[in-house]
């Protein structure tokens, strides 16, 4: 009962923060091209990684609420400073005689006055130092990973005293069983599924929880960043190739059961497929999550573009409905990523004696 109440309170407070963080833009009064441009810019900013954790801005006082994150650059030596030196991208940061400026989320070397040279398509031409910063995404991944670690280690501890699940385990045990019985077992097979369970569970819960955090008004967009999904896909790729048995390679380079000329045709196609599979994994997760965020933010933006209460009410309902859909998508994408990963692992360890 208490858990139910606290979850309800959490949802209500999150909704309140969400409306509060957008309220600043509604006070402008005249919905016109300015507002539309502002919404567009907000969405673009949201989709990009940032060097500070920005929550919201107060338009009237011009104050930004959030906190700075460390910037780590490799530019003839290690340069470490806090991103507050950029003043939210509005000024030039001076570190050990070097000058840096932020343009579209990327750090460029510049001079004292912060001049940037652009080519025809408005890409900055200045030199870029190697950027190892703890950006918003990196920071969020660290925090969420610690959160996942804390939940699951407390869950593991609870089984030491009593085999019946208690606390968080009550909620998570069915999900763990679901990954084992619905994803790993049928796709990998009874014989080999155990050694892949740790990776499948990690990937499933990481994607799912990160997706859920992406729906909170914290405004983090981790799985909608192609670098993150690239890293996840490359892990799947490496594990598949590293644990593959002879049968897997035989099916790629010398497909059994087809005429010899066909084997030469199939080999390059199958070889391409090895790389296309993780590529599709990467694109699918990235595209689904960023598309969801764009649509949701556009709808919230429309609430402020329309100046009549009937349309606003309709869009509020639509936004709520879409948020529910996004909750489903958050789970579905974690499920599909894990499912396809399990399928690829299954093909790597499969033993095809029964046919051909």
């Amino acid at each position: 009962m208490q858990l139910k109440k606290s979850i309800f309170a959490l949802v209500v407070s999150l909704l309140f923060i969400q409306s509060a963080s957008f309220a600043s833009s509604s006070e402008e009064g005249n919905p016109g091209t300015d507002l539309k441009a502002e919404i567009k810019q907000d969405i673009q900013h949201h989709l990009m990684d940032a060097h500070d954790f920005h929550l919201f801005s107060d338009k009237e006082t011009g104050a930004h609420y959030g906190f700075p994150l460390p910037v780590i650059l490799w530019d003839n030596g290690l340069q470490v400073f806090m991103s507050s030196k950029f003043h939210h991208g509005e000024s030039v940061a001076e570190v050990n005689g070097n000058y840096y400026v932020v343009n579209h989320g990327k750090i460029y070397k510049t001079d004292e006055s912060g001049t940037l040279e652009f080519d025809e398509s408005h890409h900055a031409l200045n030199e870029k130092p190697f950027d190892f910063s703890i950006t918003k995404n990196v920071f969020s991944i660290i925090v969420i990973s610690l959160f996942i670690f804390w939940i699951f280690s407390s869950m593991a501890k609870s089984y030491k005293n009593d085999l019946a699940p208690t606390g968080a385990a009550k909620f998570l045990e069915p999900l763990v069983i679901f990954v084992r019985d619905e994803i790993a077992r049928p796709n990998i097979g009874e014989k080999h599924y155990r050694k892949y369970m740790s990776y499948l569970l990690t990937v499933f819960f990481f994607i799912w929880i990160v997706n859920l955090f992406g729906l909170t008004p914290l405004g983090i967009n981790i799985t909608g960043n192609i670098a993150v999904t690239f890293a996840l896909a490359i892990l799947t790729f490496i594990i598949t190739q590293a644990t593959a048995k002879g049968e897997y390679w035989k099916h790629i380079f010398w497909m059994p059961g087809v005429p010899v000329p066909m084997k030469f045709v199939l080999a390059p196609i199958e070889l391409l497929g090895v790389f296309i599979k993780p590529f599709a994994l990467m694109i699918r997760l990235f595209a689904n999550i960023s598309a969801g965020h764009i649509v949701l933010m556009s709808l919230i933006g429309l609430l402020f573009v329309f100046n009549n209460w009937f349309a606003r009410g309709a869009f509020l309902g639509l936004t709520f409905f879409l948020s529910m859909i996004e909750l489903l998508v958050a789970f579905l994408q974690a499920y599909i990523f894990t499912m396809l990963t399990a399928l690829y692992f299954g093909s790597a360890v499969a033993e095809h004696e029964e046919h051909h």
Partner: protein, 63 residues
């Protein structure tokens, strides 16, 4: 972003939509015929839908 590319992306999205619709419809038929196989059908349906969806997104991001 050019007009032919946008039209092409639109065509691909229409195709992907038809494909996913067909998958969903067929899965409904199959579940109606064999309710006891619901889980297996749903899994296969989701995988097939995800594969088509990937093409749709690839088209959208190519624009």
């Amino acid at each position: 972003m050019e007009i032919p590319a946008m039209v092409g992306a639109g065509l691909i999205v229409i195709g992907a939509g038809l494909g996913i619709g067909r998958i969903g419809g067929s899965a409904m038929d199959a579940i109606a015929r064999q309710p006891e196989a619901t889980n297996k059908i749903q899994t296969a349906m989701l995988i097939a839908a995800a594969l088509i969806e990937g093409i749709g997104f690839a088209a959208l991001f190519a624009v």
